[in-house]
Amino acid sequence: MNLNLSDALKVDHLTVNYDQISVLWDISFTVPKGKLVAIIGPNGAGKSTFLKAILGLTPSLSGQVQILGSSKKSQIKKVAYLPQRESIDWNFPITVEELVLQGRYPKLGLFKRIRKRDREAALEALNWVDMTDYAHRQINQLSIGQQQRIFLARALLQDADLYFMDEPFAGVDSLTEQFIFTFLKGLKKKGKTLFVIHHDIQCIPKHFDWVMMINARLITCGEVSTHFTQENLDQTFGRNTNLFEEVFNLSHKKHLGVDHS
């Protein structure tokens, strides 16, 4: 059942200590290829930290992450990450085309030149997201939906196998939302695996086929049809875990030598 080659992502006992805020504990799960995965959980419960820990961006206390069956560091190049909108400086002087071209950098490295075929691929990616006309615009001239699209284009150019998105639908109009979902489903059909941190619980059964619920620990991970239950939702968003959090934070403070008063 645990055939490594067919799993997009396999995580074992991932534990992350992150200053004195969201902590992740002992997370283990497996996600097969070709799924559209929704990641949900209360705010500040560690969803973004979780994503960053898997990508190796946050130091984790322990645990092993296997991307497409291998835990080598270079596997990270097979992952595309779409950042939260707030973390980008939209006044940065860069054109849409140049931003999309960045998708080639994992392959080209620091020094290899950009060739004509790279530029053509970039324009093609822009075409996929319906933004060809904007290729030479500055990014501060784009709307929110357009901004999301060009990041999708960059991810496309990366030719990644796994996609991680942190609240891609925040502040986006419904037309762009539809567009993005169609786009993601198209990627899924090609065998890509997509992880989306999402806030709108209601629409999950409609679009996603796999769900992960996180609240400092992994409540559940599996098919939406079987795992997206009221009981699981209660445990994720409910209040009966106060004691857990209290003890958790206490332990954390003890390990940092900080006074717990």
């Binding site: 200053d19 004195q20 960053k52 990508l55 190796g56 961006l57 270079s74 990270i76 190049k77 992952v79 990450y81 950042p83 973390s87 980008i88 400086d89 006044n91 940065f92 002087p93 860069i94 054109t95 140049e98 960045q102 950098y105 994992p106 490295g109 620091l110 020094f111 500055q138």
Partner: protein, 337 residues
Amino acid sequence: MILSLLNPYSGQGFFSFMKVGFLRLIQFFQGHLSLKTLAPDELQILVLSLIALSSAIVGVFLIHRKMTMLANALSHTVIFGIVLTYLILRKSFELIDPTLSFKVMFLASLVTGVLTAFLSQLISKISNLQKDASIGLVFTTFFALGILLITLFSKNSHIGIDMIMGNVDALHYKDLTSIFYMLGCNLLIILLFMRGLKVSTFDPIFSKLAGFSPTLFNYLIVLQLSLTAIGAFRAIGVVLVLSFFIVPPLAAHLYATSIEKQILIASFIGVISSYLGVSLSRHLLTHYGLALSTGGLTVLCLYAVYFLNRLFYQAYRGYKNRKAKLAAENFTFIKQD
């Protein structure tokens, strides 16, 4: 140094300065003049322009990485580094040796820069202290140490002031060499690493995923920053070098469509201001008998150029907006037809 009596620029006003300079430039290209027969004013313009070029390169990245206060801090700790270097090399403090060899400069900048950045981060992380407070603690302490050492070992407290404020008028021909090297270093680094620098500035997470370590590039910028600050301190002092780092790039940001263009425009602004500063200084001396600090005047020119830029840009934008509005109105008008 050429005596001021033989200085072709003495006695010139603003416009005659231009004329003299132009003529000498022609003579230079005809081979009659060489770098060794550089007039003091020309030396000043050259040094300031080179500093401006270096600073534009580093400054653009500093602004986008929101590292300007770290730059301020670093320029203060640089004083400590320089003083310590002098003490260790046991050069006489009375005559600050302009031939402080480039290798020593490089080493001093490496150590002070990395130390400052590293200590600030360490304190901030372990004590859970806000970043600006930890930077503040580190640099004020080192700066106090630097000033203490200066006042301890130099009988002439003027030296201390010159380090903080610089003295463009005391520039020596040999300063050119070290500044050339500094610019060369900076150019080499950005030509090689432009891609990594841009991406790690714009999207550090993507940069890490692509294999370009953001920490490495952070320290690269810190290195370039310290190098430029050390290179510039003799001319304009450590506090004013900050203005070269931030004012031209801020002005250039209005027009730039890419980082490269921003660097170019910022360089251009910096060079123009250097020229204006020196010629203004000469003009004031000639026509009003006022001997003002050339460094200070250059910085004021930088700001003047910035504000003019800003005004011009507002006007240009206003003009474009009106044009667009007019076009839109015409369009609807035609449609109604």
